[in-house]
Amino acid sequence: MPKLQSAAELEKYRAEILARRDPAKPCIAVCVGAACDGMDSAAVAAAFVAEGGKLGDKIEVRTTGCHGYCEKGPNVVVTPGDICYFEVQPTDVPEIIAATLKGEVVERLVYKDPNTGAKAVHMNEVPFYKHQTRLLIGDNPKIDPMRIDDYLAVGGYAALVKALTEMTPEQVLDEVKKANLRGRGGGGFPAGSKWETTRNAPEKTKYVIVNGHEGESAAFMDRAMLTGNPHKILEGLIIGAYAIGAQKGFMYTRHDMPLLEKHVRNALAQAKEYGLLGQNILGSGFDFECELHFDVGIFVSGESSALMRSIEGNAPEPRPKYIRTSVNGIWDKPSNLNNVETWANVPQIISKGAEWFTSIGSEKSKGTKLISLSGNVVNSGVVEVPMGTPLRTLVFDIGGGVRDGKILKAIHFGGAMGGSIPADLIDSPLDFDGMSKLGAPIGAGGLLLMDEDTDMVEVARYLMDFLVNESCGKCVPCREGMQQMLHLLTNITRGEGKPGDLERLEDLIEVTGVASLCALGKTSGDPLKSMFRYFKPEYESRISGGSAGK
């Protein structure tokens, strides 16, 4: 592939890709996302390739990233028609191919409502999907993440073209500011303001970073995006770099996902080959390079200043500086860090405009939010809904409620630094500020259902145990405070709690929260704080010798 020299060349190339494609030709998309892969969807994909191969050119088989409905994997989607097959086994393959060629549906493999038995064939009829607004994840079944042409075929890099050819960096920045895009990594901080700070920092050398670390337990949507559609994130990053005036980017992600690494490496190489990275991108005069970096397995490395230390090659300890990384980041240069989902939102904001973007969502939280739905839920998976969607929709309409017919006890958001709210707050809307006020900040977007049997003391102990192992250990309140909280919680779960333990815990929450060096320590007491707010009697009765849970 020769390098694309201009926007016109890219659009011409895109037209050629589309011209070669026959929309009527059946295409079978097999999900090899993390969960489907764990259910051996690779064997299903191989069977499709083998069977389909016998037919010559009649059918296309595509291996793709996460479709979303992880609970029912391996997932297969057949186009045209977006026919969804669930829990597909290699032995089902010949039947699916035969039916597809005849324009028929394999009834036994489509969705069946567990209560009514009603079937749903097409994606937009399946309850899990039909209540969603899949602006970001929706392209995944259409894309083989190893093929940049698949991304171009769904309109990929058109936003970059628009930014580079029709907009000044200031205009791009303005659009993102107007869109009120808030950081999806946890804080909900306006991305545009952060970009502006880095842009306005006097230092000429600037960096942009994708935080794809996703260390939050039970959060898996960023991996689904980055593994399933790496070019979308890269496009967002390049646009951001253009607006900010950065010459270099870093993708920081997990070391323990071989497929993710393969896809991202390949995407960077292809973008470079096509001239979307490197010198003079599409003839615009804008130069930008991007490097891939890995965490080496510790949660604190997702904290922004620790992450930057790690990119520099140092131990990932947060810096004790009262200066923002957006001004003073990697090698003391202004560095703008956003998470995967934030970057993924950028192309559509540029393509469709801030006005369109702000028409979706709640008053102060715009756009959609990716949610990893798991725990004691019937339908777990990656979900995308507009901000402001009531939790009830997520939990019941999409999630199908609690597993095994049990009663919902609590909803937990935000992993080990999030919080749990009781089931009676189920009508609260999904909103950065609203959820924070309730004590269960959205965090990165891991939503867990906890059923009636859940022991809330044990949950707090478990979360603290997780964090104790992920702390860097540099500052006293985080290192010692969490360790002491863990001791106390362990004792209480064992029925060895003592009078004064709750006061001790409250002191530790307060001091760890205010005195810790970085966000890990500062928010480590948050789950416990929410427990004390909503489930304190459970703690009290455990200390005074009551029984567990319920």
Partner: protein
């Protein structure tokens, strides 16, 4: 070199003159105002690890809690080195550290000052409070790197590197004297005993190493606590 900018701020009600680039801790120390700290050393880069030097800062109507060893002085900020909240933070931090080094004189003194209960939290008598003074002094001042940090989180500890310590520590031992709990010395001796007994490099000309100014920790009677 540009002219040094003078900055006026308030610390504990006193108007203090400081120079741009100074930290609040430096400004306070210059003015003779005491702020406790366990990990700060004037020859070392600020670490911000022990958090005891945390103070209350009021700037533009906002009150926040910052570590004074890192926080830079700024015009017109109001600093309070003691307040109910600051004292509470220090009390709990000292209590946490006393779980490791209940008899360290420095901690006993701080415990008295802030009303900390040495028995409040579960004991793990590791004797090290991981202030990192030894590690950083060896790296930044001596540039020997004979002692380093290992592991993370609550398992983090200091560890002498026998291969380096064997040749470098015999005539230095300066970290022993800056250690607030005497653990550095114990850790070194243990490393020597295990990894290179009798092999410590000795001076060629004099047979005796220079007398180090070691601090001996007295064995403290355990006070009855309620």
């Amino acid at each position: 070199m540009s002219e040094m900018t003078e900055i006026v701020l308030t610390i504990d009600g006193q108007e203090i003159k400081a120079t741009a680039g100074m930290t609040v801790l430096q400004a306070a120390q210059k003015a003779g105002i005491y702020i406790p700290t366990l990990c700060h050393h004037e020859k070392l880069e600020a670490f911000g690890g022990c958090r005891l030097c945390m103070v209350e800062v009021e700037a533009r109507g906002w009150t926040s809690y910052v570590v004074s060893c890192v926080y830079p002085v700024a015009k017109d900020i109001v600093v309070r080195t003691r307040s109910a909240k600051v004292d509470k933070i220090r009390k709990v931090l000292v209590e946490e550290l006393m779980a490791h080094a209940p008899d360290a004189p420095e901690l006993i003194r701080l415990a008295e000052e802030y009303g900390a209960d040495r028995n409040r939290f579960e004991r793990d008598a590791s004797f090290c409070i991981v202030c990192g003074l030894c590690v950083r002094y060896c790296n930044e001042v001596k540039q020997k790197n004979a002692v380093g940090f290992i592991d993370n989180g609550a398992r983090r500890e200091i560890s002498f590197i026998p291969e380096v310590a064997k040749d470098e520590c015999w005539d230095c031992q300066e970290c022993f004297t800056i250690c607030p709990t005497s653990y550095a010395q114990a850790a070194y001796l243990l490393t020597e005993a295990l990894a290179f007994p009798g092999q410590r490099k000795v001076p060629i000309k004099t047979t005796q190493a220079p007398e180090p100014t070691r601090r001996v920790i007295p064995i403290m009677p355990v006070a009855a606590t309620t």
